[in-house]
Symmetry: C2
Subunit: 469 residues, 2 copies
């Protein structure tokens, strides 16, 4: 977060808490600049930003004042856990997902429906230098040795990051993959056969549903709390009734809900898995994007090796490098074999580059910046929704990641909204993409992983107008 953003954020908070009241004058630019030791230009930028957000107004030759209209109250969060029908069913969603996504995959579309954060948040220049250094010093034999399970130093660096959460991972348990998506597919290949059932959250990430469909699997959607994640009692009932071959959960900042399971709940989940001898595919790609305390994975509580922990660097460090992994003591060998059959190996110089960056680079400093930017964005997008969207709209307040989950009031059909928005150059991810049973028609997933600029504001304002009509 830049200085002007930090200042704007601080003032916005003061306005929201009532410390600054409507009509109050902000400190003069000269005063704020002197007292904080920042340049007048920085103060101006902060004030412009607050003005753009409608929180303050400029009065000619007088200064900036808190707007007389009070800032919008933060909208309520979704509260009710989902109530799927408890059926296990074949998945037929891929066609719809592609129709929605393909119409909006362009750089000039407002990326509210995107699954990616802005590439501008990542240290692509530093990574590029690491890649340049590794590429020109590449040992030719590494093109054979690093194929699968992958570059030894990269696997060691990943194991070291597990240690931060107190998880002991042997690098030999790690298989490097072409992004998390391949890791997750490798798990499905290792654990399931066509016709099997897999338990998932409700709602759940559409790519998980597409993967189930591709593998000929049935989805069993389980009740999920919008803040605390899957309902373990409901999961246990579902396991008894349907004997799934695996479950696939996002325990941290779930896509789309943003829900996160607490440590106690993860421990209870690990016990449930052991009791039921049920493998968990833990899709944990957002774990590094926390705003509060660092969340451990369920893997941390897994004594018997039932958790196959999948993640990647695509969301936290290196978009486009396509480096992910799965770690599992129990299934590592099988996963490596699956990998040999499906794509043989992962780009060797890219693996070496990430190993080098993790060893010598400034990953943690980058992550701090990234987390602050995303948290900052969350506030701005939430404010805009509060301002423009109809009363009764509920918005999640996730503790990490970059997705908001919106429950819209009235009989709103987000599939229709998505089509209208696509025509206007705005991408949206409507609720029905996140369920094999086509629920969540009044819901939207909204990406706040891009800077809140004028384009985003106009898009949200437009959507709000349509929804209010």
């Amino acid at each position: 977060m830049k200085r002007y953003q930090a200042l704007a954020e601080e003032l916005a908070r003061s306005i929201r808490t009532g410390l600054l009241k409507p009509g109050d004058r902000l400190p003069s630019v000269r005063h704020a600049s002197a007292s904080r030791g920042i340049s007048p230009a920085t103060v101006f930028e902060a004030y412009y930003l607050l003005e753009a957000r409608g929180l303050v107004q400029a009065r000619p030759r007088s200064g900036y004042y808190v707007s007389s209209t009070p800032p919008p109250a933060l909208p309520a969060e979704p509260e009710t856990a989902s109530q799927p029908d408890g059926q296990s069913r074949p998945v037929e969603i891929s066609e719809r997902v592609f129709q929605v996504l393909e119409s909006t995959m362009h750089r000039d579309v407002v990326p509210l429906g995107s699954a990616f954060p802005s590439p501008l948040y990542f240290p692509l220049d530093k990574l590029g230098r690491a890649l340049a250094a590794s590429a020109t010093a590449l040992d030719p034999w590494s093109t054979v040795d690093d194929l699968t399970p992958g570059n030894a130093e990269l696997r060691r660096q990943i194991a070291l990051r597990y240690l931060i959460d107190g998880v002991q991972v042997d690098p030999r348990e790690i298989v490097i993959s072409n992004g998390a998506m391949e890791a997750l597919n490798l798990c499905l290949s290792a654990l399931t056969r066509p016709g099997d059932t897999v338990a998932v959250e409700s709602p759940c990430f559409y790519a998980a549903l597409q993967a189930l469909e591709q593998h000929g699997l049935h989805a069993l959607e389980v009740a999920t709390d919008p803040r605390e994640g899957i309902d373990l009692a409901a999961l246990e009932t579902a396991i008894e009734r349907h004997r799934p071959a695996a479950c696939w959960l996002m325990t941290n900042f779930q896509n789309p809900l943003g829900s996160a399971m607490g440590a106690d709940k993860k421990r209870a989940l690990a016990e449930l898995l052991a009791r039921r001898q049920l493998p968990l595919i833990e899709d944990d790609v957002y774990a590094e994007l926390y705003f509060g305390a660092r969340p451990a994975p369920t893997r941390a509580f897994d004594r018997e090796g039932w958790v196959l922990h999948c993640s990647s660097f695509s969301k936290a460090l290196a978009p486009g490098y396509r480096i992910g992994w799965v770690s599992s003591p129990r299934y590592a060998r099988q996963l490596a074999r699956q990998k040999l059959i499906s794509t043989l190996a992962t780009c060797v110089p890219a693996q070496a580059a990430l190993a080098r960056y993790l060893e010598r680079g400034t990953y943690d400093r980058h992550l701090q910046h990234l987390r602050r930017s995303l948290q900052h964005n969350q506030g701005q997008y939430t404010d805009a929704i509060a301002r423009y969207f109809p009363a009764g709209t509920r918005v999640s307040r996730p503790g990490g990641g970059y997705f908001l989950w919106l429950e819209l009031p009235g009989g709103i059909d987000t599939l229709a909204l998505q089509r209208r928005a696509a025509d206007a150059g705005i991408s949206l991810a409507p609720g029905p993409l996140f369920s094999a049973s086509r629920g969540f028609r009044h819901c939207l997933r909204l990406n706040y992983g891009h800077p809140f600029d004028a384009r985003a504001e106009v898009a949200l304002k437009t959507l709000g107008q349509w929804l209010t009509e």
Copy 2:
């Protein structure tokens, strides 16, 4: 091929054809050096090499003489087309393939069973510089734009290479993949459902069989001529009887046979596909490694879009980069969707690096060197087999690629031979890996994609001794 190798090759040919006879004196080093304009050291190197191969003998203070034992005659080639039983059957081979391969995947093993050529034959330093340049100049948005179907310039460069064969390919028909292996799997996903039958050559590459097994498909092995590839009449009969969902063929320098279909045969195959409305997965990863005339793919004769042409840069330019592709006007969109579900995308900086190398680099010059090296190796390995292996051994003489196919005489069991060789640090690829019906027990695939050094010679000599026992 280096100068001394070229000179040695020329002299070896003269000896084999009888131009130089046993007891003949080679030109003196000084004379050869002067008449050819090469250094005496180069001539010495060539003579040493011929001596190491047993073709010439040094007589102290006199010079080099053609050995009195005549050079081994080139062994006969395999001649009989395979005769599979015409059944379509589920594939259960993966476990066996892994057992054989995993025991021998180490740098210190003699790589006679390897599927890869030596990494030392590739311009990894030049590629590294291209990667360094692309990585440090990477447009952040390319990490979104280049995901799937892939980097536009790379697809344009690939389309330009198709033009060399007179094939008009629209870059939009090309989907970049994580190596050819993913491309082939994408084709299977797009064309088949579990339980379907796929027609393949007999023998055929074990990874194809593993892919069929992974997709729950049946393999229909079709009679294949060791020089001219699949028997089209047998293929048509098989199609009539079993209605396969696709066929999967390696039309150029087939792995393991080395067979190559002529242009007329490819044209006839394309007509057959159109007549039967049958898609062909054309696995063409060795096409650039020809020693004679450049072979066109079946895709060149395909008027109706039944050929899905798969290839990669892994065998010809950039091992370890994991960049492959599939080109198909009819299925491109479906293939791109499959790719999004399976691995989402291919490493973006690696794509940019290859695009840059192809645009500015010296690909064709590199290919000329590589082809000459491989052809040179073929002669050396074949000579050694002629010298050390039992009479009656038949050896293929492929016009490209880097595999020899050996038919061994008597009741030799190459699975047992492979186990013994593994214990002695020699990897082998025994015949039964190449067939779902476990045939070819007396056959071996032998990699000549590594320089013929003392280690390779000792390994072949040892194998020959065991086989002669």
